[in-house]
Symmetry: C2
Subunit: 418 residues, 2 copies
Amino acid sequence: MKIGLMGLGTVGTGVVHLIDQNGRNIEKKIGEKIEIKKILVKDPNKKRTPLAEGKITFNAEDILEDEEIDVVVEVMGKEHPALEYITKALQKGKHVVTANKEVIAKHGKELIKLATEKKVHLLYEASVGGGIPIIRPLKQCLAANKIYEIKGILNGTTNYILTEMKEKGLDFDDVLKDAQQKGYAEADPTDDIEGFDAARKLAILCMLAFNKFVLPEKIYTKGISFISKSDIQYAEEMGYTIKLLAYARIDEKERLEAWVHPVMIRKTNPLNGVNGVFNAILVDGNAVGEVMFYGQGAGMMPTASAVVADIMDVKNHIVIQNGCEEVDLIPIEDTFSKYYIRLIAFDRPGVMSKITGVLGNKGISLLSVVQKGSLGETAEIVLVTHIANTGKVLEALKEIEELKEVEKIESVIKVRED
Amino acid sequence: MKIGLMGLGTVGTGVVHLIDQNGRNIEKKIGEKIEIKKILVKDPNKKRTPLAEGKITFNAEDILEDEEIDVVVEVMGKEHPALEYITKALQKGKHVVTANKEVIAKHGKELIKLATEKKVHLLYEASVGGGIPIIRPLKQCLAANKIYEIKGILNGTTNYILTEMKEKGLDFDDVLKDAQQKGYAEADPTDDIEGFDAARKLAILCMLAFNKFVLPEKIYTKGISFISKSDIQYAEEMGYTIKLLAYARIDEKERLEAWVHPVMIRKTNPLNGVNGVFNAILVDGNAVGEVMFYGQGAGMMPTASAVVADIMDVKNHIVIQNGCEEVDLIPIEDTFSKYYIRLIAFDRPGVMSKITGVLGNKGISLLSVVQKGSLGETAEIVLVTHIANTGKVLEALKEIEELKEVEKIESVIKVRED
């Protein structure tokens, strides 16, 4: 079994090492040796693992045109030129294993169609949750279920930041800096902290769990950069933990709701124990009930573990490809949730009645209101709503923000009891 | 695809309902209808689901000799006659799906051999962890890993009891009675509370994760019936939670350590959040790191979910059968652990020095010693050891129990920091 490896960054190097290290075991399991024949890299001057020696090429065609190569393993990351290489490999009748969530989230539908036409495998277990087995369990183990809900902590960087803020009582910016120094966050952390990375993975999960294809940019996404120490404290006092949740469900009418948003979850929720860079995916099926998958969502060896398992499955012909239909999401305005809202208002008589008045006019009823000691001229007000229409909440927030009594709405966080 | 169902108790009824309820989805996924042709039952007078009408038989041969039946689904439970029926079905060239942990734990090795010879599938996902996907993830998704450690909460009854004791401050006997009333514990709860059920599941996991076959009765097993309110409180004070852990690992010399024992685990351990009747399995692989699978370990529909997924895999020809070798365990005396020991001693001068003297003589050093207020004539003493040789600890416990100053050793619980 001859492999063409595209990319020799963190994940690619992990794949090379894992095949070397566990090679004998792997051979015993699939009855054949996995041989990495060629490795595509960009930079001629970079220092690389000695295991790559004699295999390096700078030209993708060396792999794509090599008749001996059965499987192309794409671990370059980024949308381009990975998409073009994957497409070409499939067209040439080669199996493809990829860890590229951007390509799969954006182009999964047509790539799966192409793979099905060409009767080859397209496998992407590593694109969601790193080494956590999730794609096969969803497709195979829970195959007898109708899955109706997914809740995931799909991004290690944001989960690390929220965990550190909570445990050490630190502010967002300080933890982000620390995370960048430790290599848990990138120099430009936007994709992670604004939730875009989680939205891509959620789009892939929707494809797998519901056979519904939705472009990641259509998923309503709110990140965690606004969250402050004081939100963490309020959550704690009320018995919740704040997590960046990627959420999707199918409603009674088979419509898809999907969003990425900070959520206060109950301490009894199994996701509450998912800390640091760990990821977890909680799946609800109509027969199995709640099932959770937990592990390291990123990193060299965990991700390589998923890539190599995919390569082994190509050999074992273990693939279930499901088609999927492109769908529109339920508009975020038509969804329902409890909301926690923290704002700074000028400490004047009547301010509370104005704010609660706006909410009341929109038909939003309140579970609790807390005003904590005046901060000089201003006061901090925390409102928690009952389950409310999100469209009405967004309208109300806009009106509240425009009140002259209100300085700033600082935080809007969903609240869930499940 | 025609099925012969053996057994129509809780799980069997779940299978019938699930195939009825999700039938169209299942058909779409495997391209064929699953038809339950015959159902073997024992009692002619029992009230049954209307879906079973016209299919009931009282004679196993009706299924085993029916040439049209491709797949035998055994959900009767108990070792006999399930073993004989499964064996005969395999010999007849039929695929077998079973939820029977007793049969698989005790006879898995020869049944797998027979299935391999006859080129049929033997699938048993439902035998461990109910609906939690664990067998396929271990065999497929983590296939590129060398797995070296498994820690599981594999029994819902004991986990429910420990959770209730902790949350409500109740004693073991009271919670057991309540669990029996709620149907979470059987009238004769021995198999669950003494850890035998967990030991069987652990034996199956050893087969899957390590390819090592060990009879469940050879696994050192200690249940939870001795655990009292005060153990739960001490654990809490020291920052631990008590769980009944099923543990297995492969050491550097490829030897197998396996036991079932109450363990104090750290609050940061992901198993800490596994409460009530839920089960979880934490697997450590050399590439993927820690991965956890969580869900309902028993119950009608979760177990049926796993059984039906197995049936679907037969159709999809998705099976990886690994052989396994029978091995001896590392004798429990040669293993190492920290221990928590709680005992009642007569409140006399010199008692502490005698007890700690015994431990010292065996080379066991202490992490902490607490003596709490005298209980009339007696005092409660809690000792926590450093990591010690289990053989020496067992010897020391015997000697301490024989001291005339000691009334009774009440509890021995392992302590782990991972």
